[in-house]
């Protein structure tokens, strides 16, 4: 009953419906583009572009006096794009390294943006109020028209990514090779960065310039943990982004005074944490588990070989070795009781009486085969 009520509220409420749709679009597109940006190996890029959008927003307002999202976001896109080209040019023509260039462009543009914003806010007329919503985003101000613009822009981004998929892929993996094939990598890079600018502009109103970079990095970083294929990684990042967008804005609508944009970012960050911990193959827990298992199996094999040596020394495969002797000959790091238990469970040794162990016929056979293999490999 309660669930139905909740659903009723969500889809009956115009504002919430708009916000949800907006968050879905913004999450999807920033996941997809974020995945490509991540593979370009410049994580600061999203950060730089989104911060660099701020002066554009302020300038657009100063020049036009309008507060329509279309005007302000056009300004944001223009200044984000100029910052990107400026950064590329600095790297290409000077000896400044790319991370320095990114940091430089970020602080210069963002600082200028804050100056303009303060200047606007100190003006006597009251018409300027509300520009600072672009700092941390304010999803509640999203209108149906805004979401329509967001939808069209993300459709454009998706179409271009699909169209240039092959070219972007070879450029991202091996730009020198791509260039030798005749693909203009400089233009492909500008294409990729321009798509990233559009993506960030899509999210500015909801998430804001400060947190938008997290939306570009987080779903992509989470998706990278789960797959080894570019296609799947990009799709997964899109889905993760959508999930973060929808569940973040739902949560913030159900809990009073929880801001939408930051909640979306928090959800995305939790997804990154979970992926880092639990993803198979790349996850931390998985790796630890695999390491432990490997360690155990090596200890078991070394113990078995040592027992065989010991038995051969006594010229008797069924010789009963006392545990003190076994402990003395095994490597000090061996977990003795666990290792012997494992050997017994596998039927490779028996415990004829308390405090003694002996190889079984099967154990001798396995140990010999194992030793032969080792000799061949060595």
């Amino acid at each position: 009953m309660e669930l139905l009520q909740t659903i009723g509220i969500v889809f009956g409420d115009y504002t919430l419906r708009t916000v949800l749709l907006g968050a879905l679009i913004l999450g999807g597109v920033s996941g997809v583009l974020g995945a490509l940006a991540l593979l370009r190996r410049q994580s600061l890029l999203g950060d730089t572009i989104s911060h660099a959008a701020l002066p554009g927003i302020a300038m657009a307002f100063l020049l036009s006096g309008s507060k329509s999202s279309l005007v302000l976001l056009s300004g944001a896109a223009l200044s984000g794009w100029l910052a990107t080209l400026f950064m590329l040019q600095v790297v290409r023509t000077s000896r400044i390294k790319d991370d320095t260039a990114l940091g430089l462009v970020l602080s210069v543009f963002f600082g200028f943006g804050l100056v303009l914003l303060t200047f606007i806010q100190k003006r006597p007329d009251a018409a300027q109020a509300g520009l600072d919503k672009f700092l941390f985003g304010q999803a509640a101000t999203l209108m149906a028209e805004d979401v329509t613009i967001m939808a069209w822009l993300s459709a454009l981004v998706f179409v271009l990514v699909v169209l240039f998929w092959k070219e972007l892929k070879v450029y991202l993996f091996d730009s020198g090779f791509a260039e030798s094939l005749g693909f203009p990598t400089r233009w492909l890079d500008i294409l990729l960065l321009s798509l990233l600018v559009i993506t960030i502009v899509i999210g500015l109103q909801t998430v804001g310039v400060v947190l938008m970079s997290a939306m570009v990095v987080a779903p992509a970083a989470a998706a990278r943990q789960w797959t080894h294929r570019l296609e799947r990684m990009v799709l997964l990042a899109g889905l993760f982004g959508m999930f973060a967008g929808v569940s973040g804005s739902l949560t913030s609508s159900l809990v009073p005074r929880l801001p939408t944009g930051p909640t979306i970012v928090v959800v995305a960050t939790i997804m990154v944490l979970c992926s880092l911990l639990f993803a198979p193959a790349r996850g931390i827990l998985w790796n630890r588990f695999r390491l432990k298992r490997q360690q155990k199996s090596i200890q078991v094999h070394i113990a078995l070989l040592t027992l065989l040596d010991l038995a051969e020394h006594h010229r008797d495969y069924r010789h009963q070795h006392s545990l003190e002797v076994v402990r003395a000959v095994l490597p000090r790091t061996t977990h003795l009781s666990r290792t012997l238990k494992e050997l017994e469970e596998r039927g490779w040794i028996t415990v004829p009486r308390k405090g003694f162990v002996a190889l079984t016929a099967r154990g001798v056979e396995v140990a010999r085969r194992f030793r032969e293999n080792q000799e061949v490999a060595g």
Binding site: R95, K169, G176, L181
Partner: protein, 256 residues
């Protein structure tokens, strides 16, 4: 030998090539003529500009002066006839993709814009992998490969380019014995097919065994030609200066 090689234009012709990074010349006025069908090593000390030379031929670095022609025409018109094997370390091997995918990238040039690789590209890529003993790895994630396997994937990618000139940047760098043999076999096969193969090489010892043509480079072109005429102690001293690495006398031309 000379009969085929002197007919028609050179496979690669480099004239007065000068390249500088930040005012520091890396290549100075290099002239180099690589005849059709030779299997050639480029040797020289670190910082001699070997990689830069290959990149300049491919148009990846812009020269200050000079000209490069492939079969008598600029590279831009001859792209499809040239295959490139970059240094293995130049890419991120943790990139999320498979062996087969990387090899198919060798067909992207012929495919051109927007066309996707399909069944034909897959078949060619599998055939190339088989030549290098890597067919079992086709679906493998590239981050799981050893250094030698990575190198063989790069060679397979160049192979599907089906070119006339192969430019390889240190394919023997840090590979295991299996891979070294696989590469040598491949080089010899390409040579039999009258392809022109240019290899940046570090191990002076193996030059006479693996190659029959050699270019000695140290910012300037010191000498180039058949190994038995050019690969002499005298030329090596000129190339490497005082600190010539130890090399067996028998390996050198004209030492007996």
């Amino acid at each position: 030998m000379a009969d085929v090689r002197n007919s028609g234009p050179m496979a690669v012709e480099i004239e007065d090539l000068t390249v500088a990074y930040q005012q520091q010349p890396v290549l100075w006025d290099v002239d180099l003529r690589i005849p059709r069908g030779v299997l050639m090593a480029i040797v020289g000390p670190n910082g001699a500009g070997k990689t830069t030379l290959i990149k300049a031929v491919l148009g990846l670095v812009r020269p200050l002066a000079g000209e490069v022609r492939i079969f008598g025409k600029p590279y831009k018109e001859q792209r499809q006839r040239v295959a490139y094997v970059p240094q293995r370390s130049s890419v991120d091997w943790d990139f999320p993709t498979t062996v087969l995918d990387v090899v198919m990238m060798g067909r992207y040039g012929q495919l051109g814009w927007f066309r996707r690789p399909g069944r034909r590209e897959r078949r060619l890529a599998m055939a190339a992998l088989e030549k290098l003993g890597m067919q079992a790895f086709a679906e493998r994630q590239i981050s799981q490969l050893s250094g030698g396997q990575q190198q063989r994937v790069f060679l397979a990618r160049a192979l599907v380019q089906d070119a006339d000139v192969y430019l390889m940047d240190e394919p023997f760098q840090g590979v295991d014995a299996t891979t070294e043999r696989a590469i040598v076999t491949l080089l010899q096969e390409l040579s039999r097919q009258k392809k022109t193969v240019v290899v940046v090489h570090h191990d002076l010892q193996s030059v006479p065994d693996y190659f029959h043509w050699v270019a000695l480079l140290n910012v300037r072109a010191i000498a180039s030609g058949p190994v038995d005429r050019v690969f002499t102690l005298d030329n090596l001293k000129k190339t490497y200066g005082g600190h010539l690495v130890w090399i067996e006398k028998e390996a050198l031309a004209g030492s007996d």
